[in-house]
């Protein structure tokens, strides 16, 4: 099967690739075995190799900030943004700013959400959207949720707009794309904390800073989807526009963007999900709302109430996700000619009437205006009881598991990782690169990890590598079978994917506490928290890969008398493998993000240093650490992409 993979433009590759890779593997092995005999410079990066990147970054930053005076520009921009945020803040939770109309009663917002849900996708979405807001109000989280939403409803449109703008520019100009693509790669693999530090310096703290980091984090997928969508517009549609005599702007506005609508709306959807993922993290630099409250509650060990907030975030995410997805597939309805204005705007009229009614009612019954914490419901007690019960039940098992993993697996693995000479690691990675993608990939691997060695954080980086590798390994053991199981039937797949969605949007900080309670402050807890997160994309992509196998292939296998097991192993899995590998790739990315967050449990890796950099507002150090993490992700991404593309080509899937 792999014969087809050999590429016509590089006829010498097939023989030389394995040979060179084998040679490099052997060299790496020799370096490791001969460690004691090696000069120090090959064991750990020698001083001359460690460059003071952090100082350089800091110098550049202070130059930009003070000498170029960029800080005034960014601050002015932030003030502008803040005045917009003040408007939504006033409307949603009554912050004392112009236009001083708010807060809008919760019942009015709930009914509005329900109407939007109905208009987009009918009763079910209406009920879901409306009940989400009822839940928020009834749980006494209104104020915080509105603080969060007041930022999101500004940040999300700004992200969408910026994404459209940059995406269009990137699509238009190959040169711009050349700059944009690497930036996007780094931005999407850079841990959040790394760019929070510059934001604190350039923007300050508070809702505006929260909005800015949210925008920075959510804009890359929009840019990518815009570029993709514009590229996918059929050339004939564009030519039709040309022949109609459209100018460039008309072409973009009336032909290209509307035709790319589906991709653009997927981008919008991604923006929304990313915004909600940032709710908790942005509160580290002062974004008010659910995230901030969540951290406070966790700090006071109130797990039940933090779970309530987590549920709210998940509900908001699913609601916005469903709405934007439904909107993406919805095409405008076509009305009979001669429909009256009232009929054409029926929903609008009903909505306006309902708003008026509920607003009036809320003046009479304050409970429809705001539900105070004292009147609110709480599930905290039963949730706490459930948590206690789960932890109590699992405890005996985890005690043993913890002991076993630490003594027999994790400590030896970690010590081994730290024992390895850095030169051996680099050569080994080159060998892997060479085996997968030839010389270019070998150099890419060397480049990324070489830079990590030069950053001076080698040991910590190795601990991160060890944690992530082990976590992804365990995640594969769990996620892969689960994915296969979940792909058996459509209903099952949907249920499992819903669980995946939930796990993915449920704020990861909440996991940390139970995980510590089960495993204590140690690497088992860290790995446990990371695994929980890393398994999600694996399950998702395994299911999608397996379910995406063309029906004809399976029928062909069935007709050749294959058993279900044979079909799985010799037809479905090989065909789904490229997609599954994308899942592995994502899993690595998720792990890298989570391992940084797991620093809150207590680690000795890059994440811990990142936390220190955040608390001392050290921009340079934060960036160096962030880039080190990002490079790990990018290397894996490169290898898997190269591999998967080769594989796809071999299977004739693209």
């Amino acid at each position: 099967m792999t014969v087809a993979a050999t590429n016509a433009s590089a006829p010498m590759r097939p023989q030389s690739r394995p040979r060179m890779a084998q040679f490099l593997f052997a060299a790496a092995l020799c370096l490791a075995v001969a460690k004691l005999a090696l000069p120090d410079g090959l064991v750990r990066p020698p001083d001359w190799l460690v460059w003071p990147f952090a100082d350089w970054f800091n110098a550049v930053f202070s130059f930009i900030r003070d000498d170029l005076g960029l800080i005034h520009v960014t601050r002015a921009f932030a003030d502008g943004l803040e005045s917009v945020l003040d408007v939504t803040a006033n409307l949603l939770y009554g912050k004392n700013r112009w236009p001083r109309l708010g807060p809008i009663p919760w019942s009015v917002i709930a009914i509005t959400a329900a109407m939007i849900g109905y208009a987009i996708n009918g009763w079910r979405l209406a009920a879901f959207a409306g009940l989400t807001f009822v839940w928020i109000a009834a749980m006494g989280q209104w104020q915080w949720a509105m603080e969060t939403l007041s930022v999101i409803i500004v940040a999300a449109p700004v992200s969408v707009f910026l994404g459209l703008l940059l995406g269009t520019m990137g699509w238009k100009s190959a040169r711009f794309r050349l700059v944009l693509n690497p930036l996007l790669n780094v931005a999407q693999s850079l841990p959040h904390f790394a760019y929070m530090i510059p934001v604190v310096v350039f923007i300050g703290v508070g809702a505006k800073a929260g909005a800015i980091v949210t925008i920075i984090f959510s804009v890359p997928p929009m840019i990518r989807m815009t570029m993709l969508g514009l590229q996918k517009v059929p050339s004939e549609v564009v030519e039709a526009g040309h022949m109609a005599g459209a100018t460039r702007w008309q072409l973009l506005r009336h032909v290209r963007l509307p035709t790319a609508r589906t991709e653009l709306l997927v981008g919008v959807n991604q923006v929304i999900m990313q915004c909600l993922a940032m709710v908790v993290l942005a509160s580290f630099i002062g974004m008010p709302g659910l995230g901030q409250k969540l951290l406070q509650l966790l700090q006071a060990l109130k797990i039940g109430r933090s779970i309530e907030i987590g549920i709210t975030i998940v509900l908001l995410a699913i609601m916005l996700d469903r709405c934007s997805k439904a909107w993406a597939v919805k095409q405008p309805v076509h009305l009979e000619k001669g429909t009256s204005w009232l009929m054409r705007h029926k929903l609008l009229v009903i909505w306006a009437a309902l708003v008026a009614v509920f607003w009036a009612l809320s003046l009479v019954f304050p409970i429809l205006h705001e539900i105070g914490r004292r009147d609110a419901l709480s599930l905290a007690a039963p949730l706490d009881a459930i948590m206690d019960w789960i932890i109590g039940t699992l405890d005996p098992v985890t005690q043993w598991l913890r002991w076993f993993l630490i003594v027999w697996v994790l400590i030896p693995l970690r010590d081994g990782m730290l024992w390895l000479p850095f030169s051996a690691v680099l050569v080994f990675l080159m060998a892997v690169g060479w085996a997968i993608g030839g010389k270019r990939s070998a150099l890419v691997c060397l480049g990324y990890f070489g830079l990590i060695a030069m950053s001076g954080w080698w040991d910590r980086a190795m601990i991160t590598v060890y944690t992530v590798t082990f976590a992804v390994f365990i995640a594969t053991l769990i996620g892969f079978p689960l994915g296969i199981w979940g792909s058996r039937s459509k209903a099952r797949a949907q249920a499992v994917l819903l669980v995946c969605d939930t796990l993915q949007t449920f704020p990861s900080f909440i996991y940390l506490i139970p995980v510590i309670m089960l495993f204590g402050v140690n690497d088992v807890a860290v790995v446990g928290a990371v695994v929980l997160f890393a398994a999600v994309p694996l399950v998702r992509y395994t299911i999608e890969g397996l379910r995406g196998v063309p029906e004809a292939q399976i029928e062909a296998a069935d007709m050749s008398g294959a058993t279900r097991r044979q079909t799985l192993w010799s037809v479905r899995l090989p065909l789904a493998l490229p997609t599954i590998m994308v899942g592995v790739n994502q899993s690595v990315m998720f792990s890298l993000f989570m391992v940084i967050i797991a620093a809150f449990i207590g680690t000795q890796d890059l994440g811990q240093e990142m936390q220190r950099a955040l608390s001392s507002s050290d921009v340079g150090k934060g960036l160096v650490l962030g880039l080190a993490v990002s490079f790990m992700g990018l290397m894996v991404d490169h290898l898997i992409t190269v591999w998967a593309n080769r594989r796809r080509r071999a299977l004739g899937l693209s």
Binding site: P234, E236, V237, E239, A240, G241, H242, M243, A244, G245, A246, T247, Q250, H254, V255, P258, T259, R261, Q331, P332, H334, L335, K337
Partner: protein
């Protein structure tokens, strides 16, 4: 501009796809064949095409899939830039027009129907058809009225508010035709415009088309795979192979005198009697005395079949449009055409 000047004139037009087509073409051996160019990693979609299309003429382009028909038409409308040669439209070198001039030309003079329709998925039928008018900046009432008119013309009245995805392939194709007609173009490019229509509607559209053509006298470049269609419509047919025009001539001349083996093979299955007109077989009258009533030169041989079989003259006079005898036709030769024994 004199009426005899061609509306579209292509001179040695080349279109190569590949990494650096211009410099490759500059260094190209003029004798290089299609395969040699392919071997160098270039796709010669249009090879050294020279054609003149007169005002009011309908040129039909035929050829196998991938022979470069669509590409040639795109070159004429400058949807793609040509690699070499020159194309004049209305006496102006189209490659030298500024963006503004090109837009004006397209807004006022050109229309095109696309092979895959190229409809805007987010617009209704009405808005799709009105699109070129909208681009021109016409006000909403005027463009609605005009759009409704052409929608009526293509037989889609009542579907104005549908979206392309709600229409069948044939209906979509008619939206494309309507759209290209909306601005009343002088030059009309049609890339397999009837391919998705059922035979009945296709026939109807062809008739409609001929009527329009007689009435408005547009200059039309028409691509089709259907020889019958070509015969019904064409003033001239150009047959393309591997990017080059093998032969471009009146249909009956092509049938009677294919220029190359390829063309001969291409027309092999054509029922010649239905193509060849009596006048095409007429030889100059050199002194012979012709007897009896002349046959109408504009009739095809198959239309004359009964007469040819029943008549016993060896030589038949052929009359022109004004009824005067323009030549003599050998009955045996005509019968050979009719029964398929010629050549």
């Amino acid at each position: 501009m004199s009426p005899s000047q061609p509306v579209i004139s292509c001179r040695n037009v080349w279109k190569l796809f590949g990494p650096r087509p211009e410099s490759y073409l500059a260094g190209l051996d003029p004798a290089a064949g299609f395969d040699a160019i392919r071997a160098d990693g270039y796709v010669p979609a249009v090879r050294d095409v020279s054609l003149d299309i007169a005002r009011g003429e309908m040129l039909v382009i035929m050829g196998l899939s991938g022979s470069g028909k669509s590409t040639l038409v795109r070159c004429m409308s400058r949807l793609i830039e040509i690699t070499g040669g020159e194309i004049d439209v209305d006496g102006r070198v189209i490659g030298a027009l500024s963006e503004r001039e090109l837009i004006d030309l397209r807004r006022n003079k050109m229309g095109m129907v696309f092979q895959n329709f190229g409809l805007l998925p987010h617009r209704t039928v009405l808005d799709n058809v009105a699109f070129p008018l909208e681009m021109r900046g016409q006000d909403i009432h005027a463009r609605r009225a005009r759009a409704l008119e052409v929608i009526e013309l293509v037989g889609l009245a009542g579907r104005e508010d549908y979206f392309p995805r709600e229409l069948s392939g044939g209906q979509q194709q008619r939206v494309g035709i309507a759209r290209s007609l909306a601005i009343e173009p002088d030059i009309w490019f049609l890339d397999e415009p009837f391919s998705a229509l059922d035979p009945l509607i296709r026939r109807e559209m062809q008739d409609e088309f001929l009527r329009l053509q007689a009435m408005l006298g547009k200059t039309i470049v028409f691509i089709t795979h259907d020889f019958d269609e070509a015969l019904r419509l064409a003033d001239r047919i150009a047959i393309m192979k591997d990017g080059a025009v093998e032969q471009c001539d009146r249909p009956d001349r092509i049938v009677m005198n294919p220029a190359t083996d390829y063309v001969a093979k291409f027309i092999e299955d054509v029922e010649k009697a239905r193509v060849v007109h009596a006048r095409a077989l007429a030889q100059p009258v050199d002194g012979q005395t012709l007897t009896g009533a002349p046959v109408d030169g504009s009739k095809t041989i198959s239309q004359l079949a009964r007469l040819l079989v029943n008549d016993d003259r060896a030589i038949l006079p052929v009359s022109g449009p004004d009824g005067r005898v323009i030549g003599a036709m050998d009955r045996q030769q005509a019968l050979d055409v009719l029964l398929g024994a010629a050549q």
